[in-house]
Structures are given as structure tokens and as C-alpha cells.
């Protein structure tokens, strides 16, 4: 589903990671952990083509995403639900329209009932007409996750989706992702929250990738 082939990435001369070779199978559930600044966000951005590798390549759905034209990348992104670390909404549109944006840009119409259920699940039923700047940090994260799953994507890439919400809400958001994983979706979640990882492991066969010192390793059972 997502493959890294001898990939390295650097910013302005500084090498962030190198020699990364990875293979995330369809239907798998991975957590991505590592110290702040280790490159979790960067690794996710490589997966959806916002960053280009310094060398090596990233294949998504069997295609080299680094070699794609912008419009091809756009088509790939319609099959990927992305929770950006800083959410990113259109601030002049109400939440309901922001959440259906992936369908809108693909020329599809959102199913109103599915959307209501989704909003209820992430606890935003009352905020459908609110503008993004009127939401709290946690509410924005919940909305970002709702938007990411709205288009029923094959892959979900979530960058710290529970960073700003309480423990109970974290578990609800996690449930959303583990349910989708049970339905066959591939999920990658970057997080610092070890408790969340423990809960997830009780629900699905989740594996943990750890980034440290420019290397990406599969963590053992002890995390």
C-alpha cells in the first residue's frame, strides 16, 4: 500500500532520515512514534506527496508519488484521508462544508445522514454551522478527523489526531480509526500517546514504527 525504498530526506543540507525501507501492507494499522522533531510529520508528508524525498522513492498504491504531476497527486489524495498536524480548514466556510470538502472537490455529493452520524460520533453535532476559527483546538482536531474519513479513503494518515482532546474523546477518535481498519482501510497514526497505542492494540493488530536518529524501526512488543 505504502512502500519506502531506500529513502532519505534532508532539509537544507541537514539529513533528517536515511536508508528508510518500509512496506505497509493493505489493511494494516501502524503507529508512528518518536521524539518531537524526529520526523513523524515529515514521513507522513512523504506519503501524500507534500514532501519529496532527497533520494530513494515512495510508492503509494504501487505508484511512485514523487514522480507524479500535481494533478495525479491530487487524484491519489482523494484515496487518502489526511489529518494534518495543524488541521487546515477554509476559515470562511462552516464546519459542515469543510468536512464535506473532500467530496466537493471530487465532484461528489455528501450523504447528509452519514455526515450527521459522523459529526455526532466526534461530538460536533452542535458545531456544524460554526466557522473553524470559532472552534477549540480539540474540536478542530475532531473535525479534521471527520473530514479525513468523509470520503471513505483507502488510507488514513493522521498526524497527532488526539493531541488536544481528553482521554475519553481520544478513545472515541481511536474507535473511529480501528473500525475503519476492520473494514479494510490502511491506517497510520503519528502519536506520542502510549496509552492510546495500548488501547488500540487491544482492538486491532496494530504495530508501532519508531523514528529515532534518522532511522525507522519496528518497535518490539514492549513498545
Amino acid at each position: 500500500m505504502i512502500e519506502f525504498h531506500d529513502l532519505s530526506l534532508g532539509y537544507s543540507g541537514r539529513v533528517l532520515m536515511s536508508g528508510v525501507t518500509l512496506k505497509l501492507m493493505p489493511g494494516s494499522f501502524h503507529f508512528l512514534t518518536g521524539p518531537s522533531g524526529s520526523g513523524k510529520t515529515s514521513l507522513l508528508k512523504l506519503c501524500y506527496g507534500e514532501l519529496k524525498a532527497t533520494s530513494g522513492r515512495v510508492e503509494v498504491f504501487g505508484q511512485d508519488i514523487g514522480a507524479m504531476a500535481r494533478d495525479q497527486v491530487a487524484l491519489i489524495r482523494r484515496r487518502i484521508g489526511i489529518v494534518h498536524q495543524d488541521c487546515q480548514f477554509l476559515d470562511h466556510l462552516p464546519m459542515a462544508e469543510n468536512i464535506t470538502l473532500p467530496l466537493e472537490v471530487a465532484g461528489q455529493v455528501a450523504d447528509a445522514r452519514a455526515m450527521d452520524e459522523l459529526l455526532a460520533w466526534v461530538g460536533l453535532s452542535g458545531q456544524a454551522r460554526a466557522l473553524p476559527p470559532q472552534l477549540s483546538g480539540g474540536e478542530r482536531q475532531r473535525a479534521a478527523l471527520a473530514r479525513a474519513v468523509m470520503g471513505a479513503p483507502d488510507i488514513i494518515l493522521a498526524d497527532e489526531p488526539t493531541g488536544n482532546v481528553d482521554w475519553e474523546m481520544s478513545q472515541r477518535l481511536l474507535r473511529l480509526m480501528t473500525e475503519l481498519n476492520r473494514m479494510g482501510k490502511t491506517v497510520v497514526v503519528a502519536t506520542h500517546d502510549l496509552n492510546l497505542i495500548r488501547v488500540a492494540k487491544s482492538q486491532v493488530a496494530a504495530r508501532v514504527l519508531r523514528i529515532q536518529g534518522g532511522r525507522v524501526q519496528l518497535a518490539g512488543a514492549d513498545l
Binding site: 500535481r70 489524495r77 487546515q88 470538502l101 466537493e104 472537490v105
Partner: protein, 303 residues
């Protein structure tokens, strides 16, 4: 991939799902300025158009009405008049390019002179020249050649092929028309340049919007369309208002006396009123093409 196909882009633009351009935030005064400029340009364009049409009409009338006729004027002592007139008619009959020649009646001559000399002219008492009206075939007559032959046969005959005084008028009228058309082209170019700048500014100010749209899988064409639609509609609305004002201003110009001054005839008559109605459509087309070009060009540089 997104090489825009004009036909389908236009159709999508006009049918356009109403929500599509909501993804671009209201752009405040850039958009208002676009509307205003487009209105001002259309207003000016109406006048440039009126000028071109009026001068075109003038040049056409002068050249067409006069091209295919000439006059032979015979000044001779009364006793020779008849003989010279007959000679002139004989010469004309054998001249290539002449389709008909006719001696003008004294009454006609009197009518021609009336505007200058008054209605009570005692024509019979004046030694008026004899006039022969010559109708030319489309190929026309060799003027200087005919003049030489006439002089040899009838010393008092002078060919007036109208060319002498007509030519400068026709050419200055056509030149004014070219100026009018040039103004139209300049107005179109300035509108295109301005809308390009407005679009680029709007796109640059909306980097966050573009990034968010790309995050959820929007293609360049989708993003461009939202901007294109907005600016095209603005330009069209502005041009519509400007054209209406320009047409009203022209309609309110003091009417030219029907037979009077060619030059006061700045305006439209009959079907010509249809021409300025094309301006809003033209403005929308100019806006559409320049926004499209600007949008794709900017989107290429924004990552």
C-alpha cells in the same frame, strides 16, 4: 492533464455548481476594483466603438457614393456649346470604363446650385457650364487618359472625377476608424492586464486556501475555476453596467440634423445598437482567458 479545454471549461463555468466558488473567500476590494475597472473600460469602449462605426460609415459613404461617378464640365461660348457637348458624348461613348453618359438638364443644375446661390436664381441669364454625368463600370475609367482625349476633341471640357477632394476625406475617415479600433484593442488589453494582476493578487493572498484544497485532493483546474468564475462574473457585471451607461450617454447626445453634419453623427443607428451589447460578452471572455492563464501560471509556482 488539466490543459484547459475552452469549450468544456466555459460550459462548466456557466453551469458551474454554485458552491464551487465558495471555496475562495470573499475577496473584498480586489473584486470590487475589478468590477469598477471593467465598468469604466466598457464605458470607454462604447465611445471607441461609436467612433469607429461613425467614421466607418462616413468613409464608406464618401468612397462608395462617389467612386463610380464623374462629371465632365464644359465651358464654351454659347454658339460652340452644342458642338462640344456632342464631341464629349462621342468621346465618352468610346471610352472603356464608361457605362453611361448623360447631359444634365438645366433644372438639375439649378437644383445643385440652389444651396449656394439661393432658390431665385435666374439660371437662363447666367453663362452656366454644361454638365455631363458619367457613370463608370466597376473597373472605372482611366482619368488622365480621358482628360487628354477630351481636351483634344473639346477644348472647353474638364473631367472632374471627384478624386481630388474626395481622397483626403476618405483616408482621414479611415484613419480615425483605425484609431477607434486601436483604442478598442488597447482597452481590451488593459482590461486583460488588470484582471490578470487582480487574479494573481487574489491567488497569492489565498495560499492557505490553496494548500487546504490540495490537501483534500483538489486539482489545479478546480482551484483555478473557483477564481476564474468569480473574476469572470465580476468583469461581466462591470462591463454590463459600463456598457449600459455608455449607451445611455450616446443616446442622450444631441441628435444630428438628418441632412446636416456628417461629423456630428457620433452614435448608433438601427442594428448598430447591437454592437455595444457584445462588449460585456467580450469583457467576460477576456476576463475568463486572462484569469485562467494567471491562475494556472500561479498554481504552478505555489506548492
Amino acid at each position: 492533464m488539466t490543459k484547459p479545454n475552452l469549450g468544456s471549461s466555459l460550459r462548466r463555468l456557466i453551469a458551474g455548481r454554485r458552491r464551487a466558488d465558495r471555496v475562495v473567500p470573499p475577496s473584498g476590494h480586489t473584486a470590487t476594483l475589478t468590477t469598477l475597472t471593467s465598468a469604466a473600460m466598457a464605458f470607454l469602449a462604447v465611445f471607441a466603438l461609436a467612433l469607429s462605426i461613425a467614421t466607418g460609415r462616413l468613409a464608406d459613404r464618401w468612397s462608395q457614393a462617389l467612386t463610380r461617378t464623374a462629371t465632365v464640365r464644359i465651358s464654351a461660348p454659347p454658339e460652340q456649346m452644342q458642338a462640344q457637348t456632342k464631341k464629349v458624348l462621342d468621346v465618352l461613348k468610346t471610352t472603356p470604363g464608361v457605362s453611361a453618359a448623360r447631359v444634365m438638364e438645366p433644372d438639375e443644375i439649378k437644383r445643385l446650385l440652389e444651396p449656394w446661390l439661393g432658390p431665385d436664381l435666374p439660371v437662363d441669364a447666367l453663362p452656366l457650364p454644361q454638365l455631363v454625368e458619367v457613370a463608370e463600370t466597376p473597373e472605372g475609367v482611366d482619368g488622365p487618359g480621358l482628360q487628354l482625349r477630351l481636351q483634344a476633341e473639346a477644348p472647353g471640357a474638364i473631367l472632374d472625377d471627384h478624386l481630388r477632394w474626395r481622397q483626403p476625406l476618405v483616408s482621414s475617415a479611415s484613419r480615425v476608424r483605425i484609431l477607434g479600433l486601436l483604442s478598442l484593442a488597447l482597452i481590451g488589453g488593459a482590461t486583460a492586464a488588470l484582471i490578470t494582476l487582480a487574479t494573481q493578487a487574489a491567488l497569492a493572498a489565498n495560499g492557505q486556501v490553496i494548500r487546504t484544497l490540495r490537501l483534500v485532493g483538489a486539482r489545479d483546474g478546480y482551484i483555478a475555476r473557483a477564481f476564474v468564475r468569480r473574476f469572470t462574473i465580476r468583469a461581466f457585471m462591470g462591463a454590463l453596467a459600463g456598457t449600459a451607461l455608455g449607451m445611455a450617454a450616446i443616446a442622450l447626445l444631441p441628435a444630428a440634423a438628418p441632412e446636416g453634419g456628417f461629423l456630428t453623427g457620433l452614435g448608433f443607428t438601427g442594428i448598430e445598437w447591437g454592437w455595444p451589447l457584445l462588449l460585456p460578452i467580450l469583457a467576460a471572455l477576456v476576463a475568463f482567458l486572462s484569469t485562467l492563464a494567471a491562475a494556472f501560471q500561479t498554481l504552478r509556482t505555489v506548492r
